[in-house]
Symmetry: C3
């Protein structure tokens, strides 16, 4: 299975052209849209989102990841294997958390070259073919990497910021709930938030936090939009209440 993690949006031709490239080179392999609206142009927030969601997928899954504000510039194109899952995309920090959290990790600089490479769409011309080759069982199309310029050792293990607002207005943070005491409270946008198990546990209109279905601390309002009610957006800091 190939899972797509991009900031392309679902509209427009970008995801479709990547899928066409994948189908041509890895016919019959299922392709899943995981995120098409990862934080736009923000590899850091995206890295925490990818770390939380990739862990749900089976080993052998190939993640084709394009959050790449520097396309056409100097960041290295990478293949990463982390705990049996594969990641293909730009070496701009996007794979920092999947690398840091892995028990077993290997990296390659992509050396494969397409016949024709556009300046602005490496997702279609470079990363999709390389992901397709991995998905059909080819060895990584690169050479083993030792340079750490793609790593971000200064980033925290968990990010106390909003990293995603979903369709319902729920706000995901970059914090893993399992690392926190159950009674922990948070402050976001001046509001102190208690923990709940799920939406129905609290009165309508109450803001709270809960462990979402992929393990992240998520802020929600029962039958309301947390983003609007609390003024949250990607990048808003969240404070742990002592």
């Amino acid at each position: 299975m190939i899972a797509l993690f991009t900031d392309f949006g679902l509209h427009g031709p970008y995801t479709g052209q990547m899928k066409a490239a994948l189908h041509h080179m890895a016919p019959g392999v299922p392709v899943i849209d995981l995120f098409a609206d990862a934080p736009a142009g923000d590899p850091k927030a995206s890295a925490y989102l990818l770390g939380a969601y990739a862990a749900w997928f089976r080993t052998g899954t190939v993640f084709l990841c394009v959050v790449d504000p520097g396309v056409g510039g100097e960041r290295p194109p990478l293949i990463v294997e982390a705990d049996g899952r594969w990641y293909v995309g730009p070496g701009n920090g996007l794979f920092e958390l999947v690398q840091r959290r892995a028990n077993m990790m290997r990296r390659w600089d992509i050396t494969w070259q397409p016949g024709s490479l556009s300046a602005s769409f490496h997702g279609r011309d470079l990363f999709a073919p390389v992901a397709a080759m991995l998905a059909r069982g080819d060895p990584p199309a690169g050479k083993s990497r030792s340079d750490d310029s793609d790593r971000r050792p200064d980033w925290p293990d968990d990010l106390a910021e909003i990293v995603y607002i979903d369709h319902y207005g729920n706000a995901m943070t970059g914090l893993r709930a399992a690392a926190l005491p159950a009674a922990r409270r948070f402050e976001a946008a001046g509001r102190v938030l208690d923990r709940a198990r799920t939406f129905g546990d609290l009165p309508v209109g109450t803001a709270f936090w809960y462990e979402n279905s992929n393990g992240l601390v998520e802020i929600a309002v029962n039958q309301g939009r947390a983003d609007r009610a609390l003024g949250l957006s990607v990048g808003t800091p969240v404070a742990i209440v002592a």
Copy 2:
């Protein structure tokens, strides 16, 4: 074929994770996005939409339906077979119209349990696996149901309200056109609407109603947006003019 009917939106990870679960358990079965924007948190309006659209699909289709504001609460998880089509989802009224309009109908309480069930994403953890098992030909993963707590006998056979606004601003009602005389007129938002066969039959800018491609009464404006021109949204009542 598995058809998805949800209020998840197409963005974000929810539809993708459900599709990954379906592919793992029913590899090779086509999965179709029917609605990802069913009326959010509104099983009643959704029930009339589902009733109209499911009828277009072939028998044997499995509808995986998640409009589930009570996820994690008490509503029963259900399998319904109605006239040879299968429905999997929450027993909150969402299947009322497909049940009521069926010549042959059976129900099961889902008894299958996943290894791990999140509090907030039964679509991925419970309903998708059960739908996949049906799609690959397994018997229903439940026990025959006699309790009627999932039924809504007080809901009308046709709903005189807007149940969906489409991409063009056309407003679908919960009324089946076949049940109405051809010359019937409606009033919506203070405007009386005559019937037309299709868009080109009337001057540009004229509001009218017509039988849409799935048999529902739909309000439209030739080369305009009916939602903005008439101030319509999901829940707006429509009156039949005597």
Copy 3:
């Protein structure tokens, strides 16, 4: 492969029902969403977009194209073969540029009739089955066409207007970059735009034009939205600076 080019939007039931029809009649053939947000109701702008993007796909691809404000009216339903790619949809000018730019071109009037044809959804009832038949290898379901009422000889070879705004706010024109000198400058919304190779070549906030990954002149702002910064929308004229 079947590629979808429509103005349906991704939400709502339209794309899903077309895909269900395609799967039933051409099982196993991959279906790709190329554009679901082609210029709404605008076959002319859409024709330049289709011309640029179709050329990227392999020969044998079937394009199912529905930008059809006259559905239910008099425009002829067509099959076009142009340089080994197939196009199915309304004869309203949508295929003008793929026809004009082709070295080898043939046309058919669709004569195949569905068992049931809705007045408003020929994409599902007529065009999808005809596209599926081509994709599975059947001969064109029509008779050879000589009438030129679907052609638009008065349209230019390249269109000096914005034809698409993407998810990032970049504005595509209907002009092919290959037809222009490298040093050419444009004026749009009162601003003179120089050419750049890609986004990183200019300071943050600078507006420029570049050849996009499908050969069109595209207007962008480094780390900004060109549509908002310059006030561009579909139909905005672009002037070539002498």
